[in-house]
């Protein structure tokens, strides 16, 4: 326990001192939210717009839609970029070996990273909600607990995916490239950039199965007052297990 606390404190310190990671992980989703909300507006008239037989904005205004969806993007950015880049860098520089040789177990490092991911996600979401509110008069989360639970499950799922990436990608440079590619691919097809209703059918179906789309719905539903989305939370949990078990096993075996 004291080890876990010490590691978590360390990871928070390092995160604070590494401005780039903060900028990208928080500023990018925030900027995109601002941009998309500005483009599509906050008009009730758009709420029931239908395209391809689907509600484009899920029955809310575009600004409301993006405020909630962009909170999910923060989690994905941490899981797909911050985590694998950090851990691959630790391996590359011999930091993992240094830790291992001094009885710092991998699970303490992973737990510290996950705690950091969750705290950053929660703080980023808060900022997102407040900024969207001030700039576009969007609704604040109606069910804050529901949003927090979705972020927790999302952080675990994306944490597991990030850990798996960190075990298969050997260098922090390739982690940057691959992480960025995965992040933008997901971002484009998960309803976080164009709404999923406007995507061609095939892309929509593929995107819908990917973890970010599940996280978007899992965050949007309680935020917008649609209740918790058990199915999406379950899908995220499944991702957490499928990616997390081999990742932990591989990470421990190193």
């Amino acid at each position: 326990m004291s080890g876990y606390l010490a590691m978590t404190r360390t990871e928070f310190r390092l995160f604070r001192r590494e401005p780039f990671s903060v900028v990208f992980v928080l500023a990018f989703p925030l900027m995109m939210m601002m941009l998309l909300a500005a483009v599509f507006g906050n008009n009730q008239a758009d709420a029931h717009k239908i395209q391809n037989g689907l509600l484009v904005w899920r029955g809310v205004t575009p600004a409301d839609y993006y405020a909630a969806a962009s909170a999910a993007v923060i989690v994905a950015a941490i899981g797909l970029m911050t985590l694998p880049i950090t851990l691959a860098g630790y391996r590359e520089r011999g930091i993992l070996r240094r830790f291992k040789a001094s009885s710092v177990p991998p699970r303490a490092l992973i737990a510290g990273q996950l705690t950091l991911a969750l705290a950053t996600s929660l703080a980023g979401t808060l900022v997102m909600a407040v900024v969207a509110r001030l700039a576009y008069h969007t609704t604040l989360p109606k069910d804050a607990l529901g949003v927090a639970v979705a972020l927790l499950v999302g952080a675990v799922a994306f944490g597991a995916i990030g850990l798996l990436l960190a075990t298969v990608i050997r260098t922090s440079r390739s982690a940057q490239g691959i992480g960025l590619l995965l992040f933008f691919s997901l971002w484009l097809v998960s309803g976080t950039a164009p709404p999923r209703a406007v995507l061609p059918t095939g892309l929509r179906d593929v995107g819908g199965a990917l973890p970010l789309a599940h996280l978007v719905t899992a965050v949007q539903n309680p935020w917008l007052g649609f209740g918790w989305s058990g199915a999406d939370l379950a899908a995220l949990a499944a991702y957490a297990v499928v990616a997390g078990v081999p990742a932990l096993w591989l990470f421990h075996g190193e």
């Binding site: 004291s2 080890g3 606390l5 010490a6 590691m7 360390t10 310190r13 390092l14 001192r17 590494e18 630790y90 520089r93 011999g94 930091i95 070996r97 240094r98 291992k100 040789a101 001094s102 009885s103 710092v104 177990p105 303490a108």
Partner: protein, 301 residues
């Protein structure tokens, strides 16, 4: 009972045999040196012993534990300074010590540790901004953070200035007097000679000699070199001495190689012939000479 027992250790990387049939024991409270040229397999050996690499053959016992299956238990009781490792760049010195101490079952006093390794002034400096020698001192300090019974120091004084090296040697001796066993990997002959009770010489993955530094030298019966200068033209009578192996001369400077008490014999013979050189001296064989004789090559400097 031995602290470390290594029996027929073997480790290969694909087709390269890095460690080949190496066996040795380390006794409690000794400073045990591992000496060898670059790529000899020193790091591989000590990292197998610490359970950081998995051997392909042989058995290892450390403090009664098997490092391949009981690594976690073992690491609580050993300290380790690795040859290649790092810390997160923005982690500060005192924070690193604090972090590592949090995982130690018997942590030492952190301030005392920083003071002992002269890191107080650097305590709030980030790892990335430390000089090479400061990093090295931090790694050595971290090796002692868990009050280990046994420490592994791979390239102990790499990057340290001469004064820091001497101080480090003194501290290592002090730590040994406290009962800690020390395994020291080194490139430096003087380090092996001054610090180690016994030295294992490794070359090409094989153990080529294992003895005390003096034992290594004596065992090889390496010649001493006696030097002096004289204007006396004919010294042929010196070469007749049984202990003298060879004599070379450049103008007045004479160099005699020989075994055993060659200095005393040469000296008395010179005096008997009325020659009393002011600069008579002898160079006794060193660990370096023994090393060269054993491995047939010079070591990295």
């Amino acid at each position: 009972m031995s602290v470390i027992t290594v029996d027929h250790l073997r480790k290969t990387y694909r087709r390269l045999v890095a460690v080949d049939d190496v066996s040795f024991d380390v006794e409690p409270g000794e400073i045990f040196g591992i000496l060898g040229p670059n790529g000899a397999g020193k790091t591989t050996t000590v990292e197998c012993v610490q359970g950081l690499r998995r051997p392909d053959g042989g058995t290892i016992r450390v403090l009664g534990l098997d490092p391949t299956t009981q690594a976690a238990q073992l690491r609580q009781r050993i300290g380790s300074q690795l040859q290649d490792s790092a810390l997160p760049g923005r982690l500060r010195v005192a924070e690193a010590v604090e972090l590592f101490a949090a995982f130690a079952r018997r942590p030492v006093d952190r301030d005392e540790l920083l003071a002992r390794w002269h890191l107080e002034e650097q305590r709030s400096k980030a790892f990335d901004s430390l000089s090479g020698g400061q990093r090295q001192r931090l790694f050595i300090a971290l090796a002692f953070v868990n009050s280990p019974e046994l420490v592994f120091l791979d390239e102990l004084t790499q990057g340290l200035d001469p004064q820091a090296r001497r101080e480090t040697w003194d501290l290592i001796r002090e730590i040994r007097h406290g009962g800690t066993t020390v395994v020291l990997v080194t490139h430096f002959m003087d380090e092996a000679e001054h610090l180690c009770d016994r030295v294992a010489v490794v070359d090409g993955g094989r153990l080529v000699a294992l003895d005390s530094p003096q034992g290594l030298i004596d065992g090889l019966e390496l010649p001493s070199v006696v030097r002096f200068s004289t204007a006396e033209p004919d010294l042929a009578w010196l070469e007749k001495l049984e202990e003298v192996e060879s004599m070379t001369r450049r103008r007045d400077a004479v160099e005699i190689r020989g075994a055993g008490p060659v200095l005393a014999l040469v000296a008395s013979e010179l005096v008997a012939h009325g020659i009393v050189p002011r600069d008579l001296r002898v160079d006794r064989p060193t660990v370096e000479d023994a090393f060269l004789a054993l491995t047939g090559r010079a070591i990295r400097r």
